[in-house]
């Protein structure tokens, strides 16, 4: 290999790989090593304790509760967000008048812009705004409900009741993301050749049938990507939780693994245990992505070729 070539490879592959190794792989390995220790986080000394952090986690009902909450989030949030975003995207692209060219509802560009607004607000601000909206005494939500004569909602703590805290939290996350995924799906749907819709319509397909027989199969790879992004977000969700219920919610009903990890590391001074939680979270994230890929493949996705 000529020298110039070696230099070329070193620069194009070696340099990025070095960065990747130092800033991604190395911290992974470090976290794993720490997860086998009893490191407090504030000294340079620790002992190796084997897998005892992991066995302790399996018996830690607060952590297990957090895992369950995260799984619930990863099930509900991507599904609802994608269904809503897809429905809206269909409306503004192909849901319009059934005469003439295939098009969206009238004024669809206006809807598109409006529904994108929430995404332009930082997550922490979304969380803070909604926590004010759901304030039991001074919040807009309860003011509207009591104004309608529903006295039951006087001082009702949406984020403080076990039955409502998680649904409300999910609502806030979904509210923040529907607009973005709608725009993503619009781009995907615009990429579908119009002839397909025309042909389907000539064959007598209605809007619903067109959605299921044309749109969905053509954008399923985009859906898969969206599902994985949203799933990873739901497995983290730290920002929203910190703003809505920093202490884990009523009876830990909205506690997430990331919150538990943060408390364990910085408040309890058990970095070894916290690292073990991080490893579990990483494994669950990988597992989630693998499941989404597998489901897409076995239901006849594009990757099957």
């Amino acid at each position: 290999m000529p020298l110039s070539r070696v230099i070329f490879i070193l620069i194009t592959l070696g340099l990025p790989f070095a960065f990747y190794a130092v800033f991604v792989l190395w911290p992974f390995v470090q976290a794993f090593v720490y997860s086998l220790t009893n490191w407090s986080g504030f000294s340079d000394q620790f002992e190796f304790v084997g897998l005892s952090n992991y066995t302790a986690l399996l018996k830690d009902d607060i952590f297990l509760k957090a895992v369950r909450n995260n799984l619930l989030l990863a099930l509900v949030v991507p599904f609802v967000t994608i269904v809503l975003a897809l429905a809206l995207a269909t409306m503004v692209t192909v849901g319009g008048s059934s005469t003439g060219a295939v098009r969206g509802l009238s004024r669809s560009s206006f809807y598109r812009i409006v529904s994108f607004f929430p995404y332009t607000i930082p997550a922490i601000v979304i969380g803070l705004i909604w926590s004010q909206m759901f304030d039991p005494s001074a919040g807009l939500v309860n003011a509207v409900l009591t104004g309608l004569g529903l006295d039951k909602f006087e001082s009702f703590a949406w984020l403080g009741e076990v039955s409502t805290a998680m649904p409300v939290t999910m609502f806030v996350i979904i509210w923040g993301f529907v607009g973005f995924y709608m725009v993503l799906f619009i781009a995907a749907i615009k990429g579908i050749p119009a002839e397909l819709y025309d042909a389907a319509r000539v064959d007598g397909a209605g809007r619903v049938r067109m959605t299921f027989m044309v749109t969905l199969p053509m954008v399923r790879d985009t859906i898969q990507t969206a599902y994985i992004y949203l799933g990873i977000l739901a497995l983290d969700a730290f920002v929203y939780m910190a703003a809505l219920n920093a202490s884990g919610g009523p009876q830990n009903s909205t506690l997430t693994m990331t919150q538990d990890l943060f408390n364990t590391a910085f408040k309890k001074g058990q970095f070894g245990m916290a690292s073990a939680m991080g490893v579990v979270l990483a494994l669950l994230t990988l597992l989630f992505a693998a499941i989404v890929f597998a489901v897409n493949r076995y239901t006849g996705g594009k990757d099957n070729r």
């Binding site: 592959l13 986080g41 403080g160 070894g272």
Partner: protein, 473 residues
């Protein structure tokens, strides 16, 4: 340009990359990042290179720098800057740097690991470092108490009784807590006067007052979700007065069934009645705590609020004019408690620590000594409306603050009957305890379930071999 022929194909590059991904970390695995700390033993930590004398008891060198990182919370950090300016006058060659921080643990964690922590830290706030975690790495500060202050009096003779207790871990004074905090029940003297109410001395009186409040369309108490454990502080304080030291020791040493003690249960039952009767403002579990406190101090929707004496400063901008915030000691369960009603839960707060590995240990101690001088302590009391651990810095009129006046009165009435406890902070349990307390105050669980949940949290710490225990006698 196309590249053809004998070339490295995509697959082999990926293969190399994969191998590298495994090999590089494996090679460096041996040298853990934590090994980066400077482990050279500084045997000269006790002296700073200068000559020791009464005016320079720690031997601070004539030149150099002192770095202080101060929690920038309710009290700000300007009081340390004030002390640094005073210290600068006495040590003109030394530079004193005072930096504010609200994320003590996150900011200083890498510096503790790296072995170059600052010389003085105010380890306070929601993101403070668990004292128990770093106790081994801190200087014993008893020589600061033994030293003479700037006015020439030995410092320990100028302090309130028992101030060393919260900073002492297994016999070593690792932290000097600077601010004297009083935990009490706070109310509006003007509102009580207008309605002819008196602050309750027992829980039965409190329940009766709750009925009076309800008749006026008000609640007895309220809470905010991040501060639900203020009621735990109230409950423990009240239970210790009722049952005496045995209650305190059982809790401090995380004894099994410590929450089932009759005195603790008495308080829980009373609180349960208050919640069941609707005297506790609902919705606190979803209300941000300062918003909830404003409903008390500005909206006057509830009569009583249990809190530490920082409450006046914290709610300064959100307190109704002529509120006349006043504190009284916690209620007792029965009319004949083991400790008198006047006994007071008071503890020094704002723990200042000096890490042993700091570059200028003498400088950290010298700054601390300056803060404990009459001049600096009086400045604190005057600007923050809170007493420090230094006695006699608050005049009779409390600089015009009713809350400060009542603090002086409570401290005087209590005499030697001052107590506190540390187990919640030592083991970082507050976060876990917030959960059952929010549920209990919302009426979702009853006193029995609250007891079980709290016991579970304490048992977990007690049975965790990884957690170093602090024995309290």
């Amino acid at each position: 340009m196309t590249v053809r022929g004998n070339q490295v194909d995509r697959r082999s590059i990926l293969r190399i990359a994969m191998a590298g991904g495994v090999a590089i970390p494996a090679l460096t695995l041996a040298g853990c990042a934590t090994g980066g700390g400077d482990s050279s033993d500084d045997s000269s930590t006790s002296t700073g290179g200068g000559t020791k004398s009464d005016t320079n008891p720690f031997g601070l060198a004539d030149s150099g720098a002192v770095e202080a990182v101060i929690f920038n919370g309710g009290y700000g950090f300007d009081y340390v800057t004030f002390a640094a300016d005073v210290a600068k006058k006495n040590h003109s060659g030394v530079t004193f740097g005072v930096k504010p921080s609200t994320q003590i643990a996150q900011e200083l964690q890498p510096r503790f690991v790296g072995g170059n922590p600052p010389d003085l830290i105010d380890n306070s706030g929601a993101n403070s470092i668990g004292l128990n975690t770093i106790a081994d790495q801190l200087e014993d500060l008893s020589d600061v108490f033994e030293a003479k202050n700037l006015e020439g009096t030995t410092i320990k003779d100028t302090l309130y009784a028992g101030v060393e207790a919260p900073g002492t871990i297994n016999g070593k004074l690792v932290a000097i807590n600077y601010v004297q905090t009083i935990y009490a029940i706070w109310y509006s003297a003007s509102l009580f006067e207008a309605n002819g109410w008196t602050p309750p001395k027992t829980w039965d009186e409190a329940i009766k007052l709750g009925a009076d409040a309800k008749a006026k369309g008000k609640f007895l108490m309220l809470w905010g979700k991040e501060a639900a454990t203020y009621y735990q502080t109230l409950a423990i304080g009240s239970a210790i007065k009722e049952g005496g030291d045995e209650v305190r020791l059982a809790l401090e040493n995380l004894k099994p069934d410590c929450w089932s003690h009759a005195a603790v249960q008495g308080v829980f039952k009373a609180l349960e009645t208050i919640i069941k009767n609707g005297y506790m403002k609902p919705g606190g579990g979803g209300t941000q705590f300062t918003a909830a406190q404003a409903q008390w101090s500005n909206g006057q929707e509830a009569l009583l609020y249990p809190s530490g004496s920082w409450i006046e400063n914290e709610m300064k901008d959100q307190t109704k004019a002529d509120f006349k915030m006043t504190g009284v000691p916690e209620m007792t369960v029965s009319a004949s408690p083991k400790m008198p009603y006047e006994a007071l839960h008071s503890a020094a707060g704002e723990p200042f620590i000096v890490p042993s590995k700091a570059k200028n240990v003498a400088g950290g101690k010298e700054l601390l000594r300056t803060m404990l001088s009459k001049e600096a302590a009086t400045n604190f009391a005057k600007t923050k409306l809170a007493p420090t651990i230094v006695k006699d810095t608050v005049p009779e009129d409390g600089f015009g603050s009713t809350a400060l006046q009542s603090q002086g009165k409570m401290l005087k009435d209590a005499g030697d009957g001052v107590f506190t406890w540390n187990f919640v902070d030592n083991y970082g349990m507050n976060q876990d305890m917030l959960v059952p307390w929010n549920a209990f105050l919302s009426g979702q669980i009853d006193a029995a379930k609250l007891t079980a949940e709290l016991q579970k949290i304490t048992d977990k710490v007690a049975n965790d071999p990884q957690v170093k225990k602090v024995e309290v006698k």
